[in-house]
């Protein structure tokens, strides 16, 4: 399976903002590690929903084997999955974080279900896992994602948390598209890829809201809005994105010289593929 993930080299990506953000996450996890009550409240009120949504998208079997890359100082995801009866292997390349995570797992009494290892994500082998979670702030993300999707076995699932919105400012956006044979869903900033698709070109389904400006793509599938087809947004049609409004605004596309504005939600449901070689 060949994978292409391209990253925006926008100024500031992984720069000062990214650093600041990573540090903020670090100190937040520190706080969680120090105050168990706060951590539990946070887990209940926010994190659990996120993980449950991801879990349902991944369609995990009972007692699945899960790998989590970038488990962090307070391994929320691993704990939540373990409480649901899954076996989790968490890895992190920060020795301090591994130390802290192990302590918390022990304190929660889950050390039979969660193992934390000090490992680097760039050379993992995902073959033995039913699902692989990739954290939001892993680095270098493109290398890790590529490695994961190469080693993922058929029927397994990769869940990657992709920066969107403000996160994109901090980490740079991750653009990737996917071949037609690969079944995938995207929900906001999470992308789910099933392993074993023969001609998966890349990771994320390319939707109109993520097509780079001025690049021509072909529509694969619309979303059933009754005006899209009459306006020319139909399967197989070439489309160019001319502009995109900031903070969740409309996407302006050009089809055969006709300009159409689409709300982000609509654009997100129009799947595209990159146009093949210029002919």
């Amino acid at each position: 399976m060949s994978v292409q993930v391209t990253h925006d080299k926008t100024p500031g990506a992984n720069g000062i903002l990214g650093n600041l953000f990573t540090r903020a996450v670090g100190s937040f996890e520190h706080a969680c590690a120090a105050h168990a009550g706060f951590a539990r409240w946070y887990e209940k009120s926010f994190y659990r929903d996120v993980v449950e949504r991801e879990e349902s998208m991944a369609e995990l079997p009972q007692q699945a084997h899960v790998l989590h890359i970038g488990a962090g100082r307070y391994p929320f995801t691993a704990l939540i999955l373990a409480r649901k009866g899954h076996k989790v292997m968490g890895i992190d390349h920060d020795a301090d974080a591994v130390e802290s995570a192990r302590r918390i797992v022990r304190a929660e009494g889950l050390d039979s279900c969660v193992k934390i290892l000090h490992r680097d994500g760039t050379d993992v082998d995902c073959r033995d896992y039913d699902a692989v979670w990739v954290s939001f702030h892993v680095h270098p993300r493109d290398v890790i994602l590529e490695r994961c999707s190469q080693t993922l076995s058929e029927g397994s699932t990769l869940i990657a948390r992709i920066p969107s919105g403000l996160g994109r400012l901090a980490y740079g956006s991750c653009k990737a598209d996917i071949g037609e044979g690969c079944r995938c869903d995207s929900f906001k900033s999470v992308l789910v890829v099933k392993g074993g698709a023969a001609d998966a070109e890349a990771l994320a389904p390319l939707t109109l809201d993520r097509v780079p400006i001025d690049q021509e793509v072909h529509v694969v599938e619309g979303n059933g809005h009754p005006h899209l087809e009459p306006l020319g947004i139909r399967a197989g049609k070439p489309v160019r994105v001319c502009a995109r409004m900031p903070v969740g605004g409309a996407v302006l596309v050009d089809i055969d010289g006709r300009k159409v504005a689409l709300g982000t939600e609509i654009a997100r449901c129009v799947r595209c593929r990159r146009s093949m070689a210029v002919d």
């Binding site: 809005h225 009754p226 005006h227 899209l228 009459p230 306006l231 001319c242 504005a261 709300g263 982000t264």
Partner: protein, 555 residues
């Protein structure tokens, strides 16, 4: 345009999709004396549609017309062709009209109507609505079809886009000698729609529009209408009445200080009419240039925060002219929830131009800041109302799908026609109720009935709002015309604070009776009643609260 050519009418034409939300009907004379009713259906993209405007078209087709004219845009024929094929599939007799062929030729396309006609088996005609080319041909064919055998196509399959595109290819072929559009206009189109500099330019456009509405309106008032009406016409009326009617209550009611033949004419004609003219001048420029859809696209992200789509901005803008077409225009919105939200926002906090004219007269002389303050409150209330309604109303969130038309320089004649239509409408429907309202106020005032009324409303008007008792009358009249809540305050020697309070109450106060009936028709009577209650309550609540808050600061 084709419709106007066929019937000699002047139905509104704008440069954005969704201008027509209701069908227009006109007569066309046939060759042998009879006449045919021509119905212009709202533009639509499909016959399986979601929004109300498109449903109007579907219903029209269901009423089995004698003939359907399927009008295709020569620049993008497949959209209309698909619809026409769909209509044929449903067994309607169809004639295809390919419009704007002059433009298509300019862009380097050859149009072959004969080939398409052979392919689909119904007459296909080429026209240009703008220049009138081919209109006679359409008439002849309508004549022929209505009097003789109708063009019944062989039963068609349900159309799909592949065959439609194929047929469009039969009709239209690139010749290669394409003449490019002016690069400047293409460049401008790009600039207006990109976030940078589209957003700042949008602000500039709004500021210029406001400036023109207020500036031109004031100019019209100062230099044309005041000399004409107040200084020339009214003295004649006054002396005429004075020579006939003896001094007394009747004469006071007619031409006294608040007489309906003096103020009742002066107010609508010199305070409101100038802004009606300047507003619709600006609005028709925005409509015809094709800027409004661009504005909708720019603002979509912000409107999404209110649970609306960018398309909602158009009815809101129309509402600053008059609430009735604005509520009708909500038909183009996709979900009932969005329609209801926008309609309520219009009723609550969008002053119509008549009321705005009254505000300008009332407040600008006291202080421009009071005027700006009232508009800031209007916008703040709009946002709040959107947020609250977004929480209350259930339903799916709408998504924007909007075609962005090319930018065109509006034709002055078309703009003038529109402005004239609106001004005429105001003169016919707006002036007489205001005169009657002023007459009523004068009657109440002169007969002393005001004291009786005043006693009942005293706690509310004087106690809570801090306005003089006489201000109770405009509140009663406001239900007939929105400007009547504001205009009578003009000559009451109010303080700046009282003016502000009066204006705020007027802003939120009940929508006029005509708007309520449109609301009841478009939605339900209960919804109209709820809106009536809410706006009235809001008006008194906000008016009283703001008076108290501001007087705290002014101490």
């Amino acid at each position: 345009m084709l419709f106007n050519r066929l019937t000699g009418l002047s139905a509104g034409v704008s440069n954005y999709p969704g201008t027509t939300v209701e069908f227009a009907e006109g007569q066309m004379t046939l060759e042998h004396g009879g006449s045919a009713t021509v119905i212009d259906a709202p533009g639509t993209y499909s016959l399986q549609s979601k929004n109300e405007a498109e449903r109007v078209t579907t219903r029209l087709l269901d009423s089995s017309p004698d003939l359907v004219l399927g009008v295709l845009d020569a620049l993008r024929p497949e959209t209309g062709l698909y619809l026409a094929l769909d209509a044929m599939n449903r067994g309607h007799p169809v004639i295809l009209v390919v419009n704007r062929i002059d433009l298509a030729r300019e862009r380097g396309y050859a149009i072959d109507v004969k080939a398409l006609s052979d392919a689909v088996g119904v007459p296909v005609l080429a026209t240009s609505g703008a220049s009138g080319l081919g209109i006679d041909d359409v008439r002849r064919n309508i004549n022929h079809a209505v009097s003789g055998e109708r063009p019944r196509p062989a039963r068609m399959d349900i159309p799909n886009w592949e065959t439609t595109e194929c047929l469009a290819g039969v009709l239209r072929r690139e010749t290669g000698n394409r003449r490019h559009r002016g690069t400047t206009s293409e460049r401008l189109e790009d600039l207006l729609i990109r976030p940078w500099p589209g957003f700042p330019l949008a602000l500039v456009a709004v500021a210029i529009s406001l400036g023109i509405v207020v500036g031109v309106g004031m100019g019209l008032r100062q230099y044309i209408l005041l000399p004409l009406i107040r200084d020339t016409l009214l003295p004649i009326v006054a002396s005429g009445v004075q020579s006939v009617v003896s001094p007394g209550v009747l004469r006071e009611i007619m031409v006294g200080e608040y007489g309906f033949l003096t103020k009742g004419i002066e107010w609508p004609l010199t305070l409101v009419l100038p802004y009606v003219v300047s507003f619709y001048f600006v609005l028709s420029f925005l409509e015809d240039s094709g800027y409004l859809p661009r504005l909708a696209a720019l603002i979509d992200g912000m409107m999404a925060r209110l649970g609306l789509s960018g398309a909602g901005i158009m009815p809101l803008l129309l509402g600053y002219g008059c609430g009735i077409p604005a509520i009708m225009a909500t038909r183009t919105l996709e979900t009932r929830r969005e329609r209801l939200t926008v309609a309520s926002m219009i009723c609550l906090a969008v002053p119509c131009i008549a009321q705005t004219g009254a505000f300008i007269a009332l407040l600008a002389e006291a202080s421009i800041f009071v005027l700006l303050g009232v508009f800031a409150i209007s916008i703040g209330a709009l946002i709040m109302a959107g947020m609250v309604l977004g929480k209350i109303l259930r339903g799916t969130k709408p998504g924007l799908v909007m075609e962005i038309p090319e930018l065109l320089l509006p034709r002055v004649s078309v703009m003038l026609t529109k402005v004239w239509a609106r001004a005429k409408h105001y003169l016919m429907d707006g002036v007489v109720p205001v005169m009657l309202g002023v007459a009523f106020a004068a009657l109440v005032h002169e007969t002393g009935a005001i004291d009786v009324v005043g006693r009942y409303v005293q706690p509310l008007v004087t106690g809570w709002l801090g306005l003089p008792e006489r201000a109770a009358v405009p509140l009663l009249l406001g239900i007939f015309r929105r400007e009547l809540t504001v205009l009578p305050l003009l000559d009451m020697d109010l303080t700046a604070l009282q003016l502000f309070t009066g204006a705020v109450v007027g802003l939120f106060y009940v929508p006029c009776i005509a708007m309520l009936s449109v609301l009841a028709k478009e939605f339900r009577a209960s919804i109209a009643l709820i809106i009536l209650g809410t706006t009235t309550a809001m008006a008194f609540l906000m008016g009283g609260l703001l008076t108290r808050i501001i007087s705290l600061f002014m101490m």
